[in-house]
Amino acid sequence: MGKVTFSRGGIHPRDCKYARECAIEELPLPKTVYVSMVQHLGAPAKPLVAPGDSVKVGQVIAEPGGFISAFIHSPVSGTVKGIAPRKNLAGDPVMHVEIAVEGDEWDPAIDRSGDLVTDIPDDKALILGRIKACGVVGLGGATFPTHVKLSPPPGKVADCLIINGSECEPFLTSDYRIMIERPKEVVVGAAIMQKVLDGCHCVIGIEENKPEAIAAIRAAVAELGYPDIRVQVLRKRYPQGGEKQLIDAVLHRQVGSGGLPIDVGAVVQNVTTSFAVYEAVQKNKPLISNILTVTGDKIPAKLQHNYLFRIGVPLSFVMEQAGGIPDTAAKIVSGGPMMGKAVSNLDATTVKGTAAVLYLSEAATRRQKESHCIRCGKCADACPMGLEPFLLNRLYKAADLEALEKNAAQDCIECGCCLYSCPAHIPLLDHIRQAKGQVMGVIRARAAAAKAAAEAKKQ
């Protein structure tokens, strides 16, 4: 089959994958780690340890705080020093468990050997149980608990599992490294999820700019011989890795406004999540480590790395180990340049979903002065959701919530294509994000009122 892509909008930023040739290195352990209780979408986890407890690598230290939440495990061995609020990336206080590192003693139940285990357990419930117990969450950005996503609600059936290997954000190379260094594990992970979803089709989507990854995954698929798994080459285009866009590209189906992928029979998981599922189910290894890329523009090759890091290591430690913050850096981003978050607190800790530490120079990142909209329509052309950002911007300024909802501000996926493309440098997404929040508030309030009215009627 030829190359495919999503049907509307999108941009073609420069690749900038400078760290693609850097093999994954293991990041050394710091003296102290800080494990955040908010590492997933949904309710914060509840700590199960107390100061003074000694913990081993892989031991549970927090349990889910709700249905949509996840277990958290100790990434190191040592002594719990405290449980206290600490500033996250954005500078907001969040509960963290502080652990002083002593040695590196692992929970003996974890299989630490490098042997590939290809026999997949037959019991679906057992698989799901392991994925949940190991605290696996989506590592493609949203950090949605994986076991929840793999359990379609009653009446919904998945007919295609899409494994997202597009890595469409510029600069990022961690998914790429996983695909070329651990392709078999990724494929076994995909086969496990496929089994949980009752043997639906499975498509692994990879963008055309990663021929080595395509070859490696194809070879692994052929060698392992699981039925009904295929690799689909995607055209290079951002935001290909957005769930809605990927489903459109691979299945030519569109998820309705406010809907979920499962509504159109799709489940999307990232390649790194697939790797984490493999480790959880086949090796009993909880999600205590992940891969991150340290990279940036105008920085020397020796400062570029792909690290296997223990989750909870402070960002400042990562940057120190990587050779220090380059002088050219004007902005430090956790994640990719399109959707990552600017780091305001260098001592913030890494979390399950941390994918990159990105240094951007003044020239690359400085926002230009805003001028008048010239009605060029480039923002609308770029919007993968088919919205009209110039219009939403205007309606936001006029505080017209009704019109904002009618023009689907709530459908915005915050991909940033509009702001990226605007010649007048209007901060479109900054405003649309606000507008979206307000409209979502209205929609939620309306739903709550409708529910209350229905209940009042019943009584």
């Binding site: 913050i325 600017a342 230009q368 110039f390 702001l419 007048a424 997404l429």
Partner: protein, 329 residues
């Protein structure tokens, strides 16, 4: 860690290498082949018209924004240069320079700045300037005496563009074959169109510029295609019915301000619809109005009037046509 302050702002953290200035620069580059051809053929006079027009537009924009509107000047975005260039390419080279200046005043101080400046005007400034001059100074605006150029040109027709000669002849009751015979020129010399206004001169130069804009993704082809398609269709029908009094499609597309208007003025971002289908309707409307003026109106051609009229419909077209949203029907 050090105490250096890092920028903290929301995503996205990078931006395309594009600005209003870079877009305008591309339009200027695209118009330069046509300007060069015009200068070669019409010499110093044309050069002066271009200079006076551009310099007046830029100075007026600078002065009015700084001294009257009391806000930072916007001349840096080069949009005033584009307006000056387009206005000049719409004028005969023999026109007195003070009239050029009046055109610039109308374009910048009437059509553009009172609406709020770039992005907020309803009418295309250069066209507004041209139409104002056409109505106010009809004699000077239709004096197509070729000024001495830097390169020799064949077949110079003096006094009026063949288009207006033909119009006069048709109004006087003669047919196209009679007109050609009595004036002793062929259809092909009409197409070469010596004696036409500068910007209309070379279809080739305009086409090269337009292709450059397409490649640079500055404009999309829908508006020009629907203008030219509509004009071709109407011409084919009328010309087939009565070739004696209705000119054919090639003639109508290659003469007058058709190409300059379709490629560069109807595609002005600010004064054209943003949506593809809105753009198609806009283009069809322009083609229709221009052909009606050519066949039945008082003027030999009506590209400027057509664009100006359709400019009025843009706010409505923008309200009616929205692009298809993902996942919604």
């Amino acid at each position: 860690m050090d105490n250096k302050k890092y920028i903290v702002s929301p995503s996205p953290h990078i931006h395309a290498d594009i600005s209003t200035t870079s877009v305008m620069r591309d339009v200027i580059i695209a118009l330069s082949p046509a300007a060069v051809v015009a200068i070669l053929v019409y010499g110093w006079a044309e050069l002066l018209v271009l200079l006076v027009s551009i310099v007046s537009c830029v100075l007026l924009e600078w002065a009015v924004t700084r001294w009257m509107m009391k806000r930072p000047s916007t001349v840096g975005d080069l949009s005033a240069v584009v307006t000056g260039l387009l206005l000049a390419l719409n004028l005969p080279s023999a026109i007195p320079l003070w009239i050029v200046f009046i055109g610039a005043v109308v374009a910048i101080c009437v059509a553009k700045l009172p609406f709020g400046g770039i992005g907020q005007n309803v009418f295309n400034p250069a066209i507004t300037g041209r139409v104002f001059l056409l109505v106010s100074f009809p004699a000077q605006m239709t004096n197509w005496t070729p000024t001495p150029g830097f390169v020799p040109v064949p077949d110079a027709v003096s006094g009026a563009t063949p288009l207006s000669l033909l119009k006069e002849a048709l109004k006087g009751g003669s047919t196209i074959p009679q007109f050609l015979a009595s004036n002793d020129f062929s259809m092909s010399s009409l197409l070469w169109d010596i004696g036409a206004s500068a910007g209309e001169l070379s279809a080739g130069a305009l086409l090269i510029g337009f292709i450059y804009l397409l490649i640079r993704r500055v404009v999309k082809p829908w508006i020009p295609l629907s203008i030219l398609g509509t004009m071709a269709l109407i011409s084919v029908v009328f010309h087939t019915v009565n070739p004696d009094i209705y000119t054919g499609p090639v003639f109508n597309i290659m003469t007058g301000g058709t190409l300059l208007g379709a490629f560069f003025m109807a595609t002005d971002y600010v004064t054209s619809p943003m949506n593809v289908w809105g753009g198609v309707i806009f283009g069809v409307g322009i083609g229709l109005i221009d052909m009606m003026i050519r066949y039945f109106g008082a003027y030999p051609e009506g590209m400027s009037f057509a664009i100006l009229l359709m400019n009025c419909t843009v706010p409505l077209l923008n309200r009616w046509f929205h692009q298809k949203k993902y996942g919604r029907t």
